[in-house]
Symmetry: C2
Subunit: 392 residues, 2 copies
Amino acid sequence: MVNAKPLVSIISAGMSKFGKHDGLLTRELFAIAAAEAFSRCPKLQPKQDIKAMFIGHMGEAYEHQGHTGSTLADWAGLAGIPATRTEAACGSSGVALRSGIYAVLSGLADMVIVGGVEKMTHRTTAEVTEYLAMASDYPFEQFHGITFPGLFALMANAHMHAYGTTEEQIGMVAVKNHYHGSLNPKAHMQKEITLQNVMGSKYVAWPLKLYDCSLITDGASCIIITKPELAKKYTDQPVHIVGTGQASDTIGLYERKTLTSLQSTKLAAKTAYEMAGVTPDQINLAEVHDCFTFAEIMHYEDLGFCKEGEGGKLVERGETRLGGHIPVNTSGGLKSKGHPVGATGTAQAYEMYLQLTDQAEKRQVKDAQIGLTQNIGGSGATAAVHIYRRDQ
Amino acid sequence: MVNAKPLVSIISAGMSKFGKHDGLLTRELFAIAAAEAFSRCPKLQPKQDIKAMFIGHMGEAYEHQGHTGSTLADWAGLAGIPATRTEAACGSSGVALRSGIYAVLSGLADMVIVGGVEKMTHRTTAEVTEYLAMASDYPFEQFHGITFPGLFALMANAHMHAYGTTEEQIGMVAVKNHYHGSLNPKAHMQKEITLQNVMGSKYVAWPLKLYDCSLITDGASCIIITKPELAKKYTDQPVHIVGTGQASDTIGLYERKTLTSLQSTKLAAKTAYEMAGVTPDQINLAEVHDCFTFAEIMHYEDLGFCKEGEGGKLVERGETRLGGHIPVNTSGGLKSKGHPVGATGTAQAYEMYLQLTDQAEKRQVKDAQIGLTQNIGGSGATAAVHIYRRDQ
């Protein structure tokens, strides 16, 4: 049993269904997630108890709407509290969580709601691609026409070249995550696929095919965190955050020493592991940032779940599938649950909350004590890693 | 003498010249501000000492570039540290400062750089107006064609109707701030104007005329904050932050109970004053958010510098001019120093740093002990108020 000391404790969590929400505004979508979090915790008096809000929201272009911190606070019934939007591309709510932890630990805000949201499906794929590209380097990447599938394809290429990782192994991540997503009633796509489906799908940027790419999705998520000593006043089943790490890297791939791993993930993970006093082999389950299937393989290695270069074999052996020794992305991940970019970081925390309170139903990991989430921005210029522990 | 207890201490500060910086990218502009802050503090080893960064940056549209936290960390020579962009419209770096204070107080980051930046002048006025509008309510304001001059004109109208505030009094804010700006070598416009210039300028949205509006400006600013007990290791002249308040309000004006004051400012100020143990009459100087001249009059009242409805008379009597009993916007304010939106909040803190270390040269306020900054987002859906004390 691991006795990592809690930094903060999660007393509730909420998430909209991920998918297509025609006709809803970002603010309405977030209110759905907040309402679930409030209703899960009857002892909470939101307007009175919650002292600050941090919201991950990536794209003001989708609705021509910035300043979303205050807007979402109002729509969640919390107008008045300090409400701050954080943006770090697809890592926006991972860094919101980190910012919320600072706030609770500061003593200035005993209870904080952290969340994220993105409304994307009302835009065309071309528009979404353009908006997402803002998270990569304008003068050195965007300007030359490369978008995210291309950037991750470069990394996949380098990994295949260095370690012999195969297209099939990469495709197995999609198969696994779709299987997990088929067990999650809030996932965008709830259907299993085969390796043949993946291998037969169209190339987007070699070696990545359509089925290697995460989804364009609408969704919102949030968790409510407080001081560990206050948590039991609100719930019998808190989940403790025992480690937090955040790191940055160059925004452009061209400046990095390697394309086969993310320095930001390694740094953030090192900080989080040390703070928690936990080693990678003690992690029972993880949600990692599978914006493209290949990325998940790289993350296994950067997070220490296997040795460098062995991520492909890890998924091939089924070790990261439900029932394996370290199930990864039991929620379905970005690939099958969907990737409403600003919402993704705290949606990972939502899954961890369900798993570590035995509420994950068909996809429940038995006896899980310690979980990890890893959320990145863009091609890895930002990474946020958090470690969670079941209440004992 | 006021003995408010420091929360955090500023050990250095930097600011680019505000104005037109043709050919520079946002990241390069910020690097100028960071370099000044580093060079002002020779004992600082930035890469080693600084543990986190919060950056206010409002508009990803200007350069088709989001994810600016990590980007600016890299360009400032700090790649690797946790770097988070905060966005709350024109209050983006006011909330970055608040977020940085949480981080220092949390114990997870002893030293933090907080700053802000905006590169605006390479865009047309129509583009800038459109991008700024994203900080107002899309469905209920933008959609109907109202932009920020119109929103602040509504408030000015209501104030004139309720209290008899005059167009001349509103114009006197511009005259005062241009006088102050003429003494600031980093101000965008360094020229005095007359009340006749203001009154004769074209109406933008009655009663606000061209000279009542702040400037479209390029600029960057930052401060470096640390625990009070560490500050003296780095500088003999720290400036202490003794109070912090942040609050939100409805994004749309239509939902508010009044148009003659900002609830967010009042709430944030109340929190900051109480934390500092300071009353409004103890404030020796202030930087407030004069995005439009009228706003400054409303802020006087909301911050308690005078009674409700008497802000117009306060400026008319010259009490907020250098030499008056509470000089406001000695930097020139947004009106004359300029308003690179994301940079404005920490540019206010930069001015406070100079003033409370006797480095403000021609615009130095003598014997100032306590200062206040107030930074708002949009039409006041966000407000951040900070109180500063000279080292004793």
